[in-house]
Subunit: 222 residues, 2 copies
Amino acid sequence: MVGFLGNTYLKHIKRMNKYKVLLVDDHPILLEGSKNLINSSELYKVTFTATNVQSAMELIKSEDFDILITDYEMGDLTGSELIQMAKVAQPEIKTIILSMHDSPAIVKELLKLGVNGYVLKSDSHESMLAALDKVTNGKRYLSDNIASILIEGIDQPPSSALTPREEEIVKLIVKEFSTKQIAEILFISQRTVETHRKNILKKTKSSNLVALIKYAYDHKLV
Amino acid sequence: MVGFLGNTYLKHIKRMNKYKVLLVDDHPILLEGSKNLINSSELYKVTFTATNVQSAMELIKSEDFDILITDYEMGDLTGSELIQMAKVAQPEIKTIILSMHDSPAIVKELLKLGVNGYVLKSDSHESMLAALDKVTNGKRYLSDNIASILIEGIDQPPSSALTPREEEIVKLIVKEFSTKQIAEILFISQRTVETHRKNILKKTKSSNLVALIKYAYDHKLV
DNA sequence: TAATTAATACCCATTATTGGGTATTCGATA
DNA sequence: TATCGAATACCCAATAATGGGTATTAATTA
């Protein structure tokens, strides 16, 4: 075992021989399953779990972790917010996204944020363990599937991303609010909302509302 | 231990003390996790797993199982097809759906099909074990969340189903065709399409296009 | 500091959607 | 045969959405 994982061995002993993992997923059954999976390894131990972002944040404030593994889609708050918060609270923490089926946009967002590993739930469980080994070793891990998602995304012009305000409006559209209602909700003029809609349709290459809704579904803005 | 699970004890011994479970999910990581979860119980053992419907069907043809646990959404074929096939090949098999977030329509479809248990991935893992105990005991198990999904579905009058023509039009709407285009495609007047749209909105209780698209997604008309 | 971007708001006009009706024809069912 | 559901088609009118612009302000970035 001498020298495994490079220079992390000594650190390891100090940490009672197991890296402490915080596991976050809003599906308890899956959470329990992944926990067993990780705990059956030699090097990693899930010391805490959470089924929502809020309680995960509480844990990060009060407990020490080496690794944070989190789902992306979790109700109001996403894994994105959680990771940002975690990096502030514990700068040394390594982060791994364990997600379902993500769009190029989301993958890019998270990589830009500096996640250390990215694994899909449709990957093999060896991927998960490989990711853990890589990130504790200071490297980055992307599963093959994620790599291909990124390749998918390169052909589209970079200017296709919606601004925060535009995303906000898309979300309200999907919630079945009309232009007039959205204007009231956001305390802005109806004309402004119309302008936003026009820009959104152009950016997302949608020819009408229906196409936009489908875009929203595909890009997890629902 | 005498008499546990009613009269299934003797049967149990014959089966080498563990119920044989086939576990099907197209997400390997989740599959591995659930497998560990079930195998850590006293009574159940996952003897085979599959990550797609086709190979699950192969297994059902060649191996004996007491229980089939399957996801619903799995690429081309759904858990629905798998369950129908399993009931034919092994009439005594008990079936449990382990699914993500299902609409009343899907839940109803599966219950009509005669699934023995229904658990959501967002349920606790105790739900899964409770479901296993119930179904091996000849009873039916629905998690609380499923029960409430069903209750959601009952308030709508039974006459809410769309006619074939209406469904056809919904599908064209979702394909981003306008009223005018739909009229051309179906060789009918634009007024007729408008009438259909009105009736569709009324029947589906949709206040606008967006709501209708969401209805279509939920009811698999996409 | 200059240039760019995001958010705001308006002008023009056209097309699409929605909501309230009524009515006819055809085929199936009671 | 009488009734009903489904598909067809129209009336009228109001509201919503789309497509083409331009423009101002604040903030950020080069």
